[in-house]
């Protein structure tokens, strides 16, 4: 009989202490932040959205390689020798036109692995979190600032440049072969040449 009473007493005591706790919280002010009115601003280094400062980018593709989910795709075109793209703010010379620099924020998993290898620190996370879209394709951000015509113009200038260089390289190669032949005729026994690493020799053949 006494156990039932003791049991009942501990039950009621624990219930009333519990209710004491809740009634105290009843009169405490609420901790909710009313979102649209009181906007919470994220701390400085918050990883919310990727941003690329495109004029600092030298098209080195390190960030695309570091990204585990491959959500950054970059297309670069070699700048022709006549045009000078100038230097980035950190002093690295820019040698590529960036015809396409897309980041698919729908695939990005905010792991921040892309911001570290970047030599010019032009890709970093911006604490801005209200960028939801109705259509998933709008989440692909295009950071390249070249207009489509500029892209075509740059592309075919680069092709022209590439052909000239190829022709010029063939010409140089023919002269070298010609020089090598008459040298062989003039000196019957050529000096033993130092041992050359194989891959250098293959280059010349191709």
């Amino acid at each position: 009989m006494t156990t039932v009473i003791r049991e009942g007493w501990t039950t009621f005591k624990s219930i009333f202490t519990g209710m004491g706790v809740t009634i105290r919280h009843f009169f405490k002010p609420a901790v909710t932040e009313l979102y649209p009115e009181e906007k919470v601003e994220l701390p400085k280094g918050a990883r919310a959205k990727l941003y690329v400062n495109i004029d600092d980018c030298i098209g080195c593709n390190l960030c695309a390689r570091a990204c585990p989910v491959n959500c950054i795709d970059i297309e670069t075109v070699m700048a022709t020798s006549d045009v000078d793209l100038g230097k980035t703010s950190t002093g690295n010379p820019k040698r590529f036109w960036l015809t396409q620099f897309d980041i698919d924020m729908a695939k990005c998993m905010y792991c921040d692995l892309c911001t570290f290898p970047c030599p010019t620190d032009c890709i970093y996370m911006v604490p801005e979190y209200e960028y939801s879209e109705f259509d998933r394709t709008n989440l692909v951000y295009h950071f390249s600032d070249l207009t489509p015509e500029k892209v075509d113009e740059v592309k075919e200038k680069a092709e022209k440049e590439a052909e000239e260089k190829k022709k010029e390289r063939e010409r140089k190669m023919k002269e070298k072969k010609a020089k090598a032949k008459d040298k062989a005729k003039s000196k019957p026994k050529p000096k033993p040449k130092p041992k050359q690493p194989d891959n250098k020799k293959d280059d010349e053949e191709s």
Binding site: V4, G8, I15, G18, M19, V21, T22, I23, H25, F26, F27, K28, A30, V31, T32, L34
Partner: protein, 342 residues
Amino acid sequence: MIESYGNINPVLAVLIHALIPLTIILVYALVAIWGERKVAGFIQDRLGPHRVGGWHGWAQSIADLLKLIQKEDIVPKDASRFLFKFAPFMMFAASYAAFAVLPFSSWYIGSMIDIGVFYLIAITSVLTLSVIMAGWASNNKWSLLGGMRSAAQLVSYEVPTIATVLTVIVVSGSLNLMTVTEMQSGNDILGFLPNWFIFQNPFLIIAFGIFFISILVESHRVPFDLPESESELVAGYQTEYSGMRWAMFMLAEYADMLLLSLLGVTLFFGGWNSPFGSFMSGPAWGFFWFLLKGFMLVFVMMWIRWTLPRYRVDQLMHICWGILIPATFVNLILVALWEVVF
């Protein structure tokens, strides 16, 4: 009472008598649902509904009602259609019918019948029926379990409820709730205490404790809300319901909660009598005091809900048959002895 109106034709009078509790229930249900979410919010250090309709989201439950009305009313494929559809309305009808005998104030009572308490207990057992009907009819394993659990729970807790009500009848001597309330008017216990039953006889305090526990069980409130325990049975007997039918279940649950707390107020806290004896008492004030005490009890129910975890089914049964029922009968004897002595 109807005869005191004199010349209004009886049909209109009956209509008025039927509509007053209905409006009270509907308005109360909307306010109580909003109130419960606000109480839950404040207890948990958050705000609860805050946007709909301006100040503290007062229109939240109206918005819910509109949403539920236009929601699709799904009846599961091979549920037994008639029982499934009828269960919520039967539950609401049961708790609404019981309002007939509650004395809202000295001037107004639904029907002044002499066996008011007897009628009320009979009607509330119809609730059990509707819950089992809903549980079985929705052809879902979870709601079947919910239905069975509530069958066991409600039927077995009828006994302590009736026993505690009996203890009060022993003191009051009459089954008519109006006379029960009239016996509790005035305040001359120890000079200032209103002579409500709870103060007249010390053992009635224990009776009220047991009564309060059993009405918690009757209205499926935590810590005894096993029939629709969210974390185990998904939503118990309400799992398959949606739209207006589910709203009807919610309405019935809150109406049942108000009904039982008003019964508790009538039996133990002196119904429409004001706590200050003659000051602020009269037919109009009766309404105010009666509903205020009812809302106080409802607030305590809500407060308990957001504090305690839930019992298991067999522990529930053990409490009922092992502790509550013996306690009520012992208490009954003690109350009777106390009455004889004083």
